[in-house]
Subunit: 351 residues, 2 copies
């Protein structure tokens, strides 16, 4: 996208919003989902490592690197549940894509919005393999920042068009319903999680508290439902009662990370789970019967961010919503970094 070696294309929050709106939210999610699925299918190519986390009393800051051998990507992301009290986002993120052969960054982007999109797109891709056939109705328990993205992704990719919303904060449900109003969903606001899951083919849990919560009890989940558990995604933060896990077939992104961060942190370390890449490549079975309870224990993995950055980069070739960042030193002679500094001073004085 640039011939100047020192410049790195940068997608700001403003440009990300322009890009998503220019492409359209549903087409963006559909396109992104295809990249995510493609990368899951070439899973074995990737350098995989659990994220590098720095925990503190208030939250966590994480770096999530991965590489497919040609491109390298990483995301910086924080999770600070109490941030909303001071008007800050619970989660913010940015990421970088680089060329493995040169080590040069080729794209930097905001990833707060992009992560919301990729998390939802991943859930929908996974549900293609696990949700009951012809699923039309989804319960969304927890109507915060992720909820509308989940709804849009399930609509775009699976055709889900009936929503049953529930949140302990009724104003969150109102806002979610209002934000989604223009997209033609049939929406029911529910007073309790118990109410919300009634008749739902898919149950999405996406609450934000950093604690062991029990959003879903065992008696609330019925035969054949698919649970898309998005909220339980760090040590000490879970949403489902352990008894549900024991009744369900559990599918995960990357077991070493999910065992630390996901719902299955409640289970023994060797509890059997199925890796999604194996389902997507046909090596393992997805949903086995109409009565099976399937569970996607989503925690978010580095390859999904990689897919998102890769998708973004390809969009920028058609939709130039980026600016160029003077991020890399580019002396005339590569080894003459000091000389470049001296010449800058001379140029400054002359100016």
């Amino acid at each position: 996208m640039t011939e100047n070696l020192n410049l790195v294309p940068f997608v700001s929050v403003e440009n990300m919003m322009k890009l998503v709106n220019a492409i359209g939210i549903e087409p963006f999610l559909t396109g992104l989902a295809a990249y995510i699925e493609e990368d899951f299918k070439r899973w074995e190519l990737f350098d995989k490592t659990p994220r590098v986390a720095s925990h503190s009393k208030e939250g966590v800051i994480e770096l999530m690197p991965t590489s497919d051998g040609q491109l390298y990507g990483f995301k910086y992301v924080n999770g600070h549940p109490r941030n909303t009290r001071t008007g800050l986002q619970t989660v913010t993120a940015f990421g970088v894509l680089a060329e493995v052969d040169s080590g040069y960054p080729v794209l930097m982007s905001e990833m707060t919005i992009l992560t919301a999109l990729r998390t939802a797109a991943t859930s929908a891709v996974v549900a293609k393999y696990l949700a009951p056939k012809h699923a039309k109705t989804m319960a969304i328990i927890g109507n915060g920042a992720q909820s509308e993205f989940q709804a849009m992704a399930f609509r775009a990719i699976l055709g889900v068009d009936r929503l049953r919303l529930c949140d302990i904060d009724a104003s969150a449900t109102d806002r979610c319903a209002q934000n989604l109003a223009r997209f033609g969903f049939e929406i029911e606001k529910c007073a309790s999680a118990q109410d919300a899951v009634l008749g739902a083919d898919i149950i999405t849990t996406a609450t934000a508290d950093k604690q062991r919560a029990t959003i879903l009890n065992d008696n609330m989940v019925g035969a054949g439902q698919h649970i898309n558990a998005v909220g339980g995604d760090c040590p000490g933060k879970t949403e489902l009662h352990a008894d549900i896990l024991k009744r369900a077939s559990i599918f995960v992104e990357y077991p070493p990370q999910t065992r630390i961060e996901g719902e299955i942190q409640q289970l023994p370390e060797d509890y059997p789970v199925t890796e999604l890449w194996q389902v997507m490549t046909g090596r393992a079975e997805g949903r086995a019967s109409d009565t099976e309870i399937t569970l996607f224990d989503s925690v978010g993995f580095a390859t999904e961010d990689f897919s998102a950055l890769r998708f973004l980069r390809d969009q920028l070739e058609r939709s130039p919503y980026f600016e160029n960042l003077d991020l890399l030193a580019d002396p005339d002679e590569p080894r003459d970094l000091f000389g470049m500094l001296l010449r800058a001073e001379t140029a400054e004085r002359a100016a």
Copy 2:
């Protein structure tokens, strides 16, 4: 520096050069060295982890995170020795400083130039404790991108003003000498490393080849010299003959990393080394006698980048050489990310 929550101050390469030149290279190095030393002295506060490396045939891409409990910093850095063949830098870098309590980035900066400065400043800080008293003469073997920075740091912090330069590429030596000409060093260009080390109080090795090289042989190093070994800094890349290591007292930044990346990768895993923070806090002895050979096995550690970002941030309060980057989403209502996206579209259409 900014009251807008979505904006992150960004120091481009151009602004970094302006800032360094505005402050002056030597004062910049001296100030930076003070921050590095201060952070070494509060070493125990830091979250420390070996860097997270992604190795490929051509090089390595690394993430180096650390935190002192209040601030979190990380650096992205690549090392691709063959990059110079295509006019690219061997090493490029950028970094981020963030608040631990909120997870919000507060500074993003180019770090190609800043790393060159911090590497040199670290060497000079360490030499304060290890070099022979009243050292005036330094040999620099390897006159590439790091060489002038080393010279300037040793001049600013130790008063070294006589240089003996040597490189297998004579044009590199010429350029180094020319770049340093205006700073009043007494410079001797030497035809061989053997020649260069003669009469030197300090020997700096800073070559770039990614291989096991022998820049210094055992018979070239004499009693009382301090070796500042900068170039051997990744697995498979060393500069010194193992026999030198066995005669010297070896000082390192962070043993778990240096044993993998430094000169001491040639030695058994339990070979005794001294940690620099212990020397700087008086818990361990530095140079013990006039005849001791001391060796700083420099590989570069995350805390030094942290110190550099912290120093940079403080300079920006006085010298506003930065621009603001729209990196973080900042919806009016923290949980309403989707609504922000919708409103951006509405605003776009109205415009």
